[in-house]
């Protein structure tokens, strides 16, 4: 088969145009950029990265997960099976799984009461979460004991004054 090399640049050009014209913002966008530029990103496919926080709220075959990228938390809507892959969510006791979600961004979602959200198509766990071990702060403990002593002293003094 004879290959027509003349059309190669045209194919390459078309691929490039297709790539540039694609509505996929695969580089990862911050929550602030998404909120401020919501009109620009509306209905486009975006990639958003952050820590899963709070509750994984299963609603039938789907689930709500809130993801915090350090600036804001955004609600993402995904299938319950995807949500079950999340083992840790961020709280006082735990560091949540770090997730990368790709999906359709909605400035005012018709399905979800006008909320700004992402309907997830793809989920990737970047790093798993873990429990946070917290030890009693020695400085606070010592200060507390000193203050307790001071309170005791004042109480004794008041007893003497009353007598």
């Amino acid at each position: 088969m004879k290959i027509n090399y003349k059309i190669c640049p045209i194919i390459l050009f078309l691929i490039l145009i297709g790539y540039l014209g694609s509505p996929v913002f695969s580089q990862g966008i911050s929550s602030s950029e998404l909120i401020k530029g919501a009109k620009e990103y509306d209905t486009k496919t975006v990639t958003f990265t952050g820590e899963a926080i709070g509750d994984v709220m299963i609603r039938g075959e789907f689930a709500w997960v809130n993801i915090n990228d350090g600036e804001n938390s955004l609600g993402v809507w995904m299938s319950a099976s995807l949500a079950r892959e999340i083992k840790f969510t961020g709280s006082y006791e735990t560091q949540g799984d770090r997730l990368e979600v790709t999906g359709r961004f909605n400035r005012a979602c018709l399905e979800h009461g006008g909320d700004l959200d992402i309907h997830v198509q793809k989920l990737r766990k970047i790093s798993p979460g873990m429990r946070i071990n917290r030890i009693l702060h020695p400085g606070k403990k010592n200060l507390s004991l000193i203050l307790f002593g001071a309170l005791f002293l004042i109480w004794i003094l008041t007893l003497f004054r009353h007598k």
């Binding site: 909120i35 919501a38 689930a63 809130n66 938390s73 006082y92 006008g114 309170l151």
Partner: protein, 500 residues
């Protein structure tokens, strides 16, 4: 001639301030118990330190300033103003110790915002805050909403004749029952009954929404306290957006409106006088202003086509409006969306609602419905006087538990407080503009702080200059106390400096 305050005045103020501080210290036992329950020992330790410092300060004041004398009006007002400042400082200690606030000033900002039921916040990484500290953030709203003095009168004071002077100083000039201690206890009983019902409703809804039961009821209690006391803090950084639930929004709207009603009206409703809600000038004015301001917001949102359907426009617009009007500050949009998706008309509509507020003797801030109603009636009376023949006797009256004639004294008092609020809103906006914010944004945030609302268009953040933080703190304090106690303390300070 201005008289310099005597040492005796300072001793009386110090003694009663000591009592208030001791009362406040005991409220910190609640988060300690929560901390032990959830095995959050470091946070519990933060509150133990808070209690120790508070009890130490309270005991020192009681001993050094010991007196048998009762309060006079001036002293009562000063005790109230100082109580709120001291509550802010002491309430901020455990917050600051948690490490979630960048500076002690930021912790004080949140403590004042909590006690004054505002809801503006400078917390960092809220989503990782302990249950213990989160409970305290909401509890201070509950305490501040009922009134710090109301707490002391209800639980820690056996009754003294100066009680009424302190009660009035906290912007509650209406007695529900003949005795202020009984009135305070009634306010608490109403709040506790609603709290049980509200927490149950929100907790069950949370479970149906997929939250873990313990978390759901904890959130339910916190959100109830913030909604009924028209505060606006929430356990998660997304406010009500976290829950993604229409039912949650509906329940919080009901609680916010209940919180915006006069406790005196609650009393009459509880006693079976249900007609009062339809006849009362405050509920009628509230209904009218909600419709009027929502129309402005809706037209603004339609102009900019913010939402793709009328239902969504109503859901978003109405929620923010009720949240603003009742002075709560819950949001179902992100602060930055106010500037990006809402136009100036919609923001002005929301701002007017925030500036008006709810009922007197409720947990809301701002100008309040009774004053708006009285001013409207006074205008109506004056217009009638112009239109009617000179000999005609024009009398205007309104219904607020009983029928009341609109007298000049009443209208004057309502107008003075309204004017004071407008000046406070504008002064805050001026400071905001001084720090480089556009007029409308600065006015929005200033109104939110002074009217104890808590909605934010994004100005309030940890990077905000210290001057602006202090300005908003003063606005929250003055707005919550409705000026009288604040004016008294200013007069007192002038007397200390210039008096002879």
């Amino acid at each position: 001639m201005i008289l310099k305050p005597r040492l005796e005045d300072l001793k009386i103020i110090g003694f009663y301030l000591g009592k208030v501080i001791l009362g406040l210290a005991f409220t910190m036992a609640i988060p300690i118990l929560t901390g032990l329950l959830f095995r959050e020992f470091n946070p519990a330790l933060d509150f133990l330190l808070g209690i120790e410092i508070s009890v130490l300060l309270g005991l020192i004041l009681l001993k050094v300033c010991h007196t048998e004398k009762d309060l006079n009006w001036m002293q009562g007002m000063i005790v109230v103003s100082l109580s709120w400042v001291v509550a802010m400082l002491l309430g901020a200690i455990p917050l600051y110790l948690s490490g979630h606030w960048k500076s002690f000033l930021d912790a004080c900002f949140d403590a004042m915002s909590g006690f004054a039921t505002t809801g503006l916040t400078l917390v960092q990484d809220l989503d990782h805050l302990s249950y213990t500290h989160n409970l305290w953030r909401h509890l201070i709203m509950f305490l501040g909403g009922q009134g710090i003095i109301v707490i002391v009168l209800s639980f820690f004071v056996r009754g003294f004749s100066g009680a009424f002077k302190m009660y009035v100083g906290e912007a509650r000039d209406e007695k529900i029952l003949p005795n202020v201690v009984h009135t305070s206890r009634f306010i608490w009983s109403v709040s506790f009954v609603y709290m049980a019902l509200g927490t149950l409703a929100l907790g069950i809804t949370g479970i149906f929404n997929g939250m873990k039961p313990l978390n759901s009821f904890f959130h339910g209690a916190c959100i109830f306290m913030a909604a009924f006391d028209t505060g606006g803090f929430s356990p998660q950084s997304q406010s009500i957006l976290y829950y993604h639930s229409l039912i949650y929004e509906v329940i919080t709207i009901i609680i916010m409106v209940l919180g915006a009603l006069n406790f005196k009206l609650h009393y009459h409703l509880w006693m079976g006088n249900r007609k009062e809600i339809f006849r009362n000038i405050e509920t009628n004015t509230l209904f009218g202003t909600i419709i009027a301001t929502f129309c402005i917001v809706a037209v603004g949102l339609v102009q900019i086509q913010s939402y793709p359907s009328a239902v969504l426009l109503f859901r978003k617009g109405f929620y923010q409006l009720i949240s603003g009007h009742t002075g709560t500050g819950f949001q179902t949009v992100y602060p930055q969306q106010f500037l990006a998706d809402w136009n100036n008309l919609a923001l002005v509509g929301l701002m007017i609602a925030m500036a008006l507020g709810g009922a007197v003797c409720s947990t809301t801030g701002a100008i309040k419905m009774l004053r708006i109603g009285i001013i409207f009636k006074a205008f109506k009376e004056d217009l009638k006087k112009i239109i009617m023949p000179e000999r005609a006797l024009v009398v205007e009256k309104f219904h607020h538990i009983k029928d009341v004639f609109v007298e000049d004294k009443l209208a004057r008092s309502a107008l003075i407080i309204t004017l004071a609020y407008i000046i406070l809103y504008l002064l805050g906006a001026l400071v905001g503009m001084f720090y480089g914010h556009p007029f409308l944004n600065a006015l929005f945030e200033s109104t939110s702080a002074a009217a104890n609302v808590g909605l934010s268009c994004g100005i309030t953040n940890i990077a905000m200059p210290a001057g602006l933080k202090v300005t908003y703190m003063i606005q929250m304090w003055a707005g919550r106390l409705e000026f009288m106690s604040v004016f008294t303390i200013l007069g007192f300070l002038i007397a200390v400096i210039k008096g002879k």
